[in-house]
């Protein structure tokens, strides 16, 4: 009997360790990023690093200012949200409330296909369709620009926004809508003035999820944004995002330059943690 009890305890211990692996991974990632990101920030100076307007890592007198990357990431994400959220939101309302079950299931599987397409495929199509398109339509010398990145990001965040909004809208109690209809509101008025406000936390969470996706996307953006460390002064400027700043120089970097790349990753990580915390806040409110 004792042997059995011992074995049960050992097995319990093994499962406990397996359960704690995710926690360990998060800690490991955080610690590694902080440890490898801090030295360069110390050497360059926090203010010079975050607010320096020039990035010239390979110059004889290197400059490590990442303000262009931060602003590009913020503008790019904001642009993607401005385009992606209205389209995604409207699609979600239609699918959740008005579409017949057949239409709903067809479009929903199309949306999950959109979510499953690898980001390099988006990048490839963007490179060959979007970039030349922008060059022709707006008559600019190079179409690889902030605008191209914004459009690609807007498409890439669509599935997350649609799926999450549908979940929130589906969860609105039928009684709310029935009451509104009984008071004489038309179905469409009911959807937008009753159902949507009732699902607003979930929809807000969908938007934040979209923000997280857009900030973190690297490969597709790398292929269409032109990748020059300019300040994002116009939509047609060739720009570099936080994510692409890390990946574009990593292969050949060394010394302080390499450390600075890790610091950029740390800044990116901070942004992601911030959106993650916001997301959790909205999800918690949604559950209540």
């Amino acid at each position: 009997m004792k042997k059995n009890q011992l074995m049960e305890k050992v097995i319990h211990g093994i499962f406990l360790v397996l359960g704690l692996i995710t926690v360990g991974c998060v800690l490991l990632i955080t610690i590694y990023l902080v440890i490898s990101g801090i030295p360069a920030i110390r050497e360059i100076g926090l203010v010079d690093f975050l607010f320096g307007k020039q990035w010239a890592s390979t110059a004889t007198e290197p400059k490590y200012g990442i303000l262009p990357f931060i602003l590009t990431s913020i503008y790019g994400t904001a642009g993607a949200i401005v385009i992606g959220v209205p389209v995604g939101f409207m699609t979600a309302v239609y699918l959740s409330k008005m579409a017949s079950p057949k239409v709903k299931s067809v479009i929903q599987s199309a949306v999950s296909l959109l979510a499953g397409i690898p980001s390099v495929v988006y990048g490839l199509v963007g490179m060959l369709v979007l970039v030349p398109g922008i060059r022709k339509i707006f008559n600019v010398p190079d179409g690889a620009s902030l605008l191209a990145a914004i459009i690609v990001l807007a498409i890439m965040i669509l599935p997350s926004i649609i799926k999450m909004s549908i979940t929130a809208l589906d969860a609105v109690p039928k009684e709310y809508e029935d009451a509104s209809l009984a008071l004489g509101a038309t179905p469409i008025e009911t959807y937008f003035r009753v159902s949507v406000p009732a699902a607003k936390s979930g929809i807000a969470a969908a938007v934040v999820l979209g923000v997280g996706r857009a900030i973190g996307e690297a490969m597709a953006v790398m292929m269409v944004a032109g990748n020059v460390p300019n300040m994002p002064d116009s939509l047609f400027q060739s720009v570099r995002f936080l994510t692409t700043a890390v990946s574009s120089e990593m292969a050949y970097s060394s010394g302080l330059q390499r450390q600075a790349l890790f610091s950029i990753a740390l800044v990116l990580f901070m942004f992601i943690m911030l959106t993650g915390a916001t997301l959790n806040f909205f999800l918690k409110r949604e559950r209540e």
Binding site: F15, I21, V23, I107, V120, L124, G216, T243, I272, M273
Partner: protein, 285 residues
């Protein structure tokens, strides 16, 4: 359809909202259709038997993607082999063993955090953690992907474990079985559907991953030799697509790979839905 007795303002609102909704749905559907058709039309003519059955040669300038296909298969298998026990174990701990609510909360929060971290950060940490120790290699790439896919396997397994009726467990306990025996004989068979769904989703994610592999598995096109090949660097299909399109300007090859990836994505999507439907039906019986 429209109610004629509505005031002009309300009728205008109705028409506007309906138009906007239909426009959005149409746009979304058109986008998916365009991407699918465009990639297939550009890609399929470029897929030749020679392309997918040979390796590239710098001497003759010949391009073949067989090494990339094999690398992808190897990385998928290696990742799943490692992540499955870890993820399933974690899920079993959460649903069967954990009694402290706080611990459960922390673990679930950690899993959510992991699934929100962008792949480029995984790539960087994977480079520091694995590639610096075992060299840029397929194995280092697989280890990085293990961390990425852990939350997926954990979540799908957990969801399927929740559907195993409590009475089954009680019945087994009542017959005198110990905890481990209950887990092994009653709980584990019940989570097969979750594990299969998790595997399909993970395979999809691994196939599409590129940023996390660029610095951990590298971009060599050398032919793989199993199993020692796990120690050498190699590009997966997505990484190869990136290299051919961005650095070498070989758009024909890039589109061929894109078309292959697209077809695989469609298959995986259908498989995931079919599996879910199949198991739901069985549960209702």
């Amino acid at each position: 359809m429209l109610n004629r007795s509505l005031s002009k303002k309300r009728r205008g609102y109705e028409v506007l909202m309906k138009a906007l909704m239909l426009l959005s749905v149409g746009l979304t559907a058109a986008l998916v259709l365009f991407l699918l058709v465009y990639v297939l039309i550009e890609g399929i003519p470029n897929i030749t038997w020679e392309l997918i059955s040979t390796k590239p040669s710098y001497l003759t300038g010949h391009i073949g993607i067989l090494p990339d296909i094999l690398n992808t298969v190897c990385i998928v298998i290696a990742t799943l082999l490692i992540v499955l026990p870890l993820g399933v174990g974690a899920a079993i701990y959460l649903t069967e063993y954990a009694s402290n609510k706080k611990v459960v909360g922390i673990i679930e929060y950690a899993a959510e955090t992991l699934s929100g971290i962008p792949s480029i950060i995984y790539g960087l940490v994977g480079m520091l953690l694995f590639s610096n120790n075992m060299g840029t290699s397929l194995m280092a790439g697989a280890c990085t992907l293990v961390i990425m896919n852990l939350p997926t396997i954990m979540r799908t397994t957990q969801e399927s474990l929740k559907t195993v009726p409590q009475s089954y467990r009680e019945g087994a306990f009542g017959l005198g079985a110990g905890k481990w025996r209950v887990v092994r004989t009653v709980v584990l068979p019940g989570c097969v559907d979750g594990v299969i769904t998790g595997c399909i989703l993970s395979v999809g994610r691994i196939l599409g991953e590129s940023a996390a592999l660029l610095f951990t598995a590298g971009f060599a096109h050398t032919m793989l030799t199993f199993p020692t090949g796990m120690k050498s660097p190699g590009a997966t299909l997505t990484v190869a697509l990136y290299v051919y399109a961005k650095e070498q300007g070989e758009f024909g090859v890039a589109f061929a790979i894109a078309a292959i990836l697209m077809v695989l994505t469609v298959i995986i999507n259908f498989a995931a839905t079919a599996v879910q439907k199949h198991f739901e039906k069985r549960k209702n019986i």
